[in-house]
Every structure is written in structure tokens, then in C-alpha cells.
Subunit: 336 residues, 2 copies
DNA sequence: TTGAAAGCGCTAACAC
DNA sequence: GTGTTAGCGCTTTCAA
């Protein structure tokens, strides 16, 4: 059996309580005994056991990270990067992350995350759009909770979000500045809050430059926001026969889908139509021509979320409110 | 305070020991009391606390996953996918994964993974090339351990590996079958065991088809195995002025780097030179022309590793030995 | 087949 | 400042 707090106490000729106080940096310990205890700890190679600490202190040192299954298994590593951002930050703060996925149709009787039932986390990060049934359920555990890339009114939860409106605004302003006046918006499904905000940014930018929005240039009634939807949306747009010189897509997947159709129809990019996406996914830099897009720092999103939730757990602050992570326009060849 | 085993015991009019036996599916419990206890558990909504169980049973239900920092922060999500494969599998088996990174120059006094010191894992997965100093250190904890995508002689560790030799063999055989006789190998740094095996597969395939290896077609003395090395290697190859009609690269990054140089020098792909890579990274499908490559199932690597290590931890088996995960040739346009 | 009781290794009142 | 001690919520002999 490995060395325990008792061994240290005995050898240092103090009580286990004193050793505990030293370990936890309690101020009410004289410098002399502190040093002596630390020396013994060093000599014995002592390390407190996580399970014993957790049981006694009711602090696990773990953060639960919940993702829906579809977000987790998506080939584009958007949420994976957010997770890695949290993971990185957790390491620095001596926390571990316990990851779990839940189905879209979360039912607490079947899918309750084990780490919640087992009281194995001090705080929660919920990434991406999660069902409100999950929110209702997790709230009952009264754990510090932060949403990432999602927000719902009525739940009073902290959230770390992409600054979609400004990102879109800048992207469209850039197109305007390059001389474009007839800029289409390829939006997919407006149910996605992010897409909705990006459309807002689009309208805002046009308004700011005194350009009226031509609603026949706005495609926002597609089933989803993937590559296929980008293709479908672009077909629809071209079939409308209204002229445009640029497209701002709600995300890179749709932008790349749109580019495929443009190429198929013999429209030259960027000469005849400039294309701009959003997210700066892995694919953006690799397609031909490389896609101009709005960079989203996914790792930072995850890191900020972890920081926020840990500070809540350690009671260093009461609320994080909404935190907007800025975006950055990445200019590549698809916009000329 | 939430409901504990005592509450269940009291309400079901049994001892806590009995409740514990029921929870752990001990056979020596009568069907009657088992049912009664389970019913009470249900009624009370009881769930055993992880920390208490761990402290008493000395089983954490966690698996430690160790990665070097450079592998973790690599932009290409190779090891990330392996990790996700393990994570997925862990969920199914009611384990959690604790992830940590260590620097290349691991020193146990500074970088010892916290989950080892705190006795917070039952088993270990080490992914990618790790320093032997780490192996020496982790072995002292006597935990079931499995390596992924790496192996060293002399350590008697289980390992889950890519079948590099066969993958390369098939890729080169495919080129031969397409009529190529002068096939170059772009290998980067032979220190990488995978690259070395891929070169073996290359030689094997040529031998099997009665083609002598022209050593002036083999480039394998580059500093590393990245995009830049692919560029440098291809420049070197072209400068040698020896004719070739195909290139088999040690991985996709180098293949893509090589393609860039070929295009720069006006060599048409695949008409003048066919290119084949290895790994099937995200980029492979997205470059122009899309890259023919050897697909590696990273998720499966991670999943198999987790399965292996959990079975070792649960003493369901003694050793996993070396497990080779098969590859699959993915034919795209770069090979004609 | 079940119960009593002794831990598992630590923290946190409270006392001195 | 430091020690005493009673838990934290389970598992696991050992008896009965």
C-alpha cells in the first residue's frame, strides 16, 4: 500500500490535520512546521489520493462536458476543437474534464449523464445547441453551468458565444468596400441562432452602407446548414435569375457547396462572383480557390468557457453572463 | 444532502452491505431481497457516489490518456481522432478518460501526470511516440498499459498499430498495376517507425512485382515528415533528373507538399506523375486534385486501444500483444 | 443468504 | 498554531 497522510504525520511528528492544512496551503501554519511537513512529504513521495479528498471535501476537481451526439460525431471538428480548448485550459487549472454525449431527444430517465448521478463533477459545460429538457434536468443539480455557442432565454445561464453579428457585419462591409453592391446571403436554416445573427450582421452592414436589402438575394429557408444546403441554396439563387456579384454564406460548409455549383455552372470565382464563408473550418483553406471566411477561435471558446465555469465553481465570481468572442476576417482568394 | 446507501438500507430493512451486494450484482442474494432493494433504490432515486466507491474499492473507473504536447496541438487531428475513438468506446463501457499531455523531454519530477500521482486511473493509453523516460516512469505504477501508433522493443507492452507495411504494399502494388514502373518513395525522416515500415512495404511491393528498387528514387533523409519536407523532398527528387511516373509519399502531408512543387514546376498530376499518400487526413479529399491515399481508421485505433486496456484492467485478459489495424486504399484523382 | 463492523484516506469542526 | 475526532459513503471480510 502506498504512503498515506498518516505516514507523513507520523514521520513529521504532527497530526494528520496539520498535514492536511499544509497540503491545502492553510495560512494558520507556522513556517517551521510547514517546512518540516513539506520536507517529509517530499522524502516519502507522498501524494493525496483523489478519491479520498473528494469524499471528504465534496469537491471532485472534474468538469462535465456535454455535447449532443450529432455535434460530437460531425466530421468537421468544430465542437471537438472547443472541447480541446477546454481540455487545455483544464490542465492548467488542475481540473479534469469528463466528456459525455446525449441524444437530441434527451430523456432524463434514459440518458442522464453518469457523472451527474454519481456526483462526479463540480461544474458543467454544455456545448452547442442542447435540448431544453437537458437544461431543465441539469439545473436540478445546482452546478455552475456555462453554455458554449448556444443560448436560450429564460434560463439565466452564463454563455460563451461567437460574435456573429459583428463577424458577419465585417465580412459584408469588406465585400461592399471591394465594390460589391449586389451581395447575396446564403443562410440555410434560420432556426440556428448563429445563422440568424449572421443574417442580422449582413443586414446591418448593408444598412450602414446605404444599400437596400434585396430580399430576392436572401436564401434562408433550407432544411439545414450543410454542404448540400449550400448547393441547393445556390441552385435556387441562380434559378431566380437575379444578378449578384458576391455571396456571403452562413458558414463554410454552405459556402463550399455554393462554390461547387458555381463552378458547375461555369461561373468563375472570384472574377464573376466573390464568395465569403463563416467559421474558418479546416476545409476553407484547402478548397480551390481558398475560401475567404470569418475566423472563429474555437479553442478560445472552449478555454473561456472552462475558465468561467471553474471560477464559478471556486466561487471566485457569481456570474459570467454572456461573453462574446470576437471573430476575424480571413481574406483568401475566393473574394478576389 | 442526497440519498445514500444508508437511506436505502433503512427503507428496505436490510443492511448497507446487502444494498452494496445488490448494486454490484453479487450472486449470493436472494431474488426476493434483490427485488425489494432495487425497488427501494428506484423509489428513492439512489445513485452511489463515485468517490465513495473509488475510495472503498480502489477502482476509479477512469483511464488515463497520455499524449505528447506536439501531437496534441498538431493542426491535423490525427491523434485527436484516436482520442475521440477511445472516448466513444469509454462511454459504452462506463469509463471516463482523463487526458493529459506531456512534453517531449518528459521529466518525471516536473511533468508527472497528476492522475497517476493521485491514483485516479485504472489503466493507461499512451498515444503516439512517447519518450522512454515516460515508459520507465509509468511502468512503476503497474497499471495495464497500451501504446497506440507506437511501439518500442524491450518494454513488453501491448500496442495497437497501423498495418503500415501492408498499407504501403497495396498502394504501391496498385501503382504498379496501373502500369507504373518508376515509382519514387518520398519518405521524410526514417526515425519515424511508421515511415520506416511504409518504406518496407514499398520495397516489398516492388520486389513482389519483380521491379528492382532504384535507390535514386528514394528520398528518406529529410528532417521531418511535414508539408515542408514533402516540398523539399520533391525538389530534391526533380533535381536528381531521374525519370519517374509516380510518387508514393510516406504520408499525406508530404504528398501534398510534393504536389505543390510538381504544380509549380509545371508537372501535370496525374497525367505526368501520379501521387499517392498515406493516412487519409482531412486535407486529402480537399486538395486539387483529390489525393489517392491509404486510409487509416484513427477512431478504430483509439477504440481498440480502449477496449484492450479496459479488459486488462478488469482482468478479463492478461495481454493484448500487438494488434494491427488494417488500412484501406482510397482511390481519388491524383493517381489517374 | 444476510448483517456487523472495520476500514478506504482524507477534511473540517472544534478544542486547546 | 496544532491536535482530536467525527465523519464523507461506500466495499469487504468475517460471522452468523
Amino acid at each position: 500500500m502506498a504512503v498515506t497522510i498518516k505516514d507523513v504525520a507520523k514521520k513529521a511528528e504532527v497530526s494528520t490535520a496539520t498535514v492536511s492544512l499544509v497540503i491545502n496551503n492553510h495560512p494558520a501554519i507556522s513556517e517551521a512546521t510547514r517546512r518540516r511537513v513539506l520536507k517529509t512529504i517530499e522524502e516519502l513521495g507522498y501524494h493525496p489520493r483523489a478519491s479520498a479528498r473528494t469524499l471528504a471535501s465534496r469537491k471532485t476537481g472534474n468538469v462535465g462536458f456535454i455535447l449532443t451526439e450529432d455535434h460530437f460525431s460531425r466530421s468537421e471538428p468544430f465542437y471537438t476543437k472547443i472541447f480541446l480548448g477546454s481540455e487545455f485550459e483544464a490542465r492548467d487549472r488542475n481540473f479534469y474534464i469528463l466528456l459525455t454525449t446525449i441524444p437530441r431527444d434527451f430523456d432524463e430517465r434514459q440518458h442522464a449523464p453518469r457523472f451527474l448521478l454519481e456526483r462526479n463533477v463540480d461544474a458543467l459545460i454544455l456545448a452547442g445547441k442542447v435540448p431544453t429538457s437537458l437544461l431543465d434536468y441539469t439545473q436540478r443539480f445546482r452546478l455552475p453551468t456555462v453554455l458554449v455557442d448556444y443560448w436560450v432565454p429564460g434560463y439565466d445561464l452564463s454563455a460563451v458565444l461567437i460574435d456573429n453579428i459583428n463577424g458577419a457585419r465585417e465580412a459584408v462591409a469588406y465585400l461592399v468596400q471591394k465594390g460589391h453592391r449586389r451581395i447575396a446571403f446564403l443562410g440555410g436554416d434560420l432556426q440556428h441562432p448563429s445563422i440568424k445573427e449572421r443574417l442580422q450582421g449582413y443586414r446591418l452592414a448593408l444598412a450602414e452602407h446605404g444599400i437596400d436589402v434585396d430580399e430576392s438575394l436572401v436564401v434562408a429557408d433550407l432544411p439545414d446548414t450543410g454542404f448540400d444546403d449550400g448547393e441547393a441554396g445556390m441552385r435556387q439563387l441562380l434559378d431566380r435569375q437575379v444578378p449578384f456579384t458576391a455571396v456571403f454564406a452562413g458558414n463554410d460548409a454552405m459556402a463550399i457547396g455554393a462554390m461547387r455549383i458555381l463552378r458547375e455552372r461555369g461561373v468563375r470565382i472570384p472574377d464573376e462572383v466573390a464568395v465569403v464563408g463563416f467559421d474558418d473550418t479546416e476545409a476553407a483553406a484547402l478548397v480551390t480557390p481558398p475560401l475567404t471566411t470569418v475566423h472563429v477561435d474555437k479553442v478560445e471558446l472552449g478555454a473561456v468557457a472552462l475558465r468561467c465555469v471553474v471560477e464559478l465553481a471556486e466561487a471566485k465570481r457569481k456570474r459570467c453572463h454572456k461573453i462574446l468572442i470576437p471573430t476575424r476576417l480571413v481574406i483568401r482568394e475566393s473574394s478576389g
